[in-house]
Symmetry: C2
Subunit: 381 residues, 2 copies
Amino acid sequence: MSVTHAKGFIATGLEVGLKKSGGKDLAIVQNLGPSKAAAVVFTSNRAKANPIIWSQQVIADGVVEAIILNSGGANCYTGARGFQVTHSTAEALAQKLGVSAGDVLVCSTGLIGDQLPLDLITAGIETANLSETGGEDASFAIMTTDTHPKRSIVVADGWSIGGMAKGAGMLAPGLATMLVVITTDADVPPAQLDAALRAATRVTFDRLDSDGCMSTNDQVTLLASGASGVVPDATEFAAAVQQVCADLARQLQGDAEGASHDIVIETVNAASEDDAVEVGRAVARNNLFKAAVFGNDPNWGRVLAAIGTTTAAFDPYDVDVSMNDVMVCRSGEPGESRDLVDLTDRRVHVLIDLKTGDAAATILTNDLTHDYVHENSAYSS
Amino acid sequence: MSVTHAKGFIATGLEVGLKKSGGKDLAIVQNLGPSKAAAVVFTSNRAKANPIIWSQQVIADGVVEAIILNSGGANCYTGARGFQVTHSTAEALAQKLGVSAGDVLVCSTGLIGDQLPLDLITAGIETANLSETGGEDASFAIMTTDTHPKRSIVVADGWSIGGMAKGAGMLAPGLATMLVVITTDADVPPAQLDAALRAATRVTFDRLDSDGCMSTNDQVTLLASGASGVVPDATEFAAAVQQVCADLARQLQGDAEGASHDIVIETVNAASEDDAVEVGRAVARNNLFKAAVFGNDPNWGRVLAAIGTTTAAFDPYDVDVSMNDVMVCRSGEPGESRDLVDLTDRRVHVLIDLKTGDAAATILTNDLTHDYVHENSAYSS
């Protein structure tokens, strides 16, 4: 039930006519408390959509009553009128719920540059019927090119966490592109929520780099109701948040637009974690390598050509590269035959041993396929 | 006649059996002098092929007698044996021509990680017949996935420049991926050749970014015979070198693997040239934007999402973006209707006005197409 699994939350998802393709396109989640603590991580793109600009103000005090999310339009680069649409959306929901508009987060996803029809949104809000079983509908309402909703739950000792995510294209770092709402009935203050969420996104969504493109609308929101009455151990809570984020990130990878392979790029024995991330990301963004994986071609030379563009500390002629456990490059020379590598499974594991230090990082990406080109060449038209 | 247009050069291109697809695969150019001055710009990739490592030693003294280039194999990540193949290739040609192997440049292009068959190369060298009309054959012999050879000539007052290039995939900056040989009969010393070549590549090949992928084998070589007896004006000479490089870069863009659009990204009113380059490159590397152009979809939001990831100085909400002269985004808000933009021509012009300073730069790229994915998913197999 995603965001309504944890106690203290009600939600809904409804169809108000925003998506050309039809289907649910407006999701609402309300925190009934007793705590209204919240934390949000936003896109690091300087081109921020109007709901991002709005939500950055809302979260400043760490208190959130509700969040409303629409698919069918990003409300980005829509100027003063676009900001007014976001503002009015928050006000309409605040009035409906009897809370302050300044405690209502707004998220939007869809095409950049088109105005959202405010009348459809406000009419939808008026008819909305939030319930403790509305989490599933909400998870459908945030989908764009997703083929299925993404939901995750972690049950702990007396408290739990639930979450939903959307994201299938523009999956890049610094947040991987997505809208995510995570709810918990644990009793955790805003500062601790913020620390746990940032720590989790850093090693999950921020390391999902499907197509190198960063969105203008990314927002990962964590709401805590305290309805369980349990104050969890901080370490245990942070681990649970990370578990939900990692699970949702894997689901996003598995549903990336047009992808036929989920590629796990593991870089080990790096001088630093930053180096390992840089190396993994360079491979994740190499179109030639990603196209080769689509063709089930273990073209390891493209891995080495990609990592040679980084500033990470390593000797380019003393690197090992394995693909699906076959060491195709040993110390910068041909290793086992590339014919031994079987890339027919959806999951592909690339292991890069830099032989320099003891740091490691894993980047998730996808292959570059005909379907990716097809979906993204016909998105706005 | 490309590299044999200028006086003092002979060349050939022959088929020795390196390319699975058949066709000419070995090119040789000899400088008959009287001057043997040369300059080379190499890939900035830290993963360098064996011929790059060899050629970096050869060019150290600015003297080059000849250059030999093969397609059908990159000789990269082939270890000590691969370096020996490069060394032996230079020695075989040196013996044939009666020059020092230390004055023979070597270039290779093709798949990374496979050993080149040295015996085929040396047998080819023995039968090679260089002539003043061999430039055309040479331009065919360096082709890989190129659909046609690239050649350019500039005729000046008493001297001239001719060049040939190959490159159709892995076209990225810091040199755009390619092998280029440019010859001139002007009398120009190595240091001046080097300055002119670096100045030219910086604003031509280095601003061609077809697919974001940087090669391990890039080499742009400029050879001067002095056979015209003319010492050209330095500025005029530099301009001619740049003209040849720009012409060859445009030809490479026009033959990029699988491309259906040549995209010219012009960034103006930037705070610095570096900013303008960073902004243009961010757009050139955005797969979503490039796929949209393939679909003739003027999705300008993807331009703004791309440049929002840069560190360039500008206000993301006060940017103008025009596509083929239609200002679709004015001051960060929707401008003219995207329906007015016609993207059916191969050439697409994107104009980004940062409204910050007076610097500008132009980046050349291509769209992301089904054919790109197809060609690069089936390259090594």
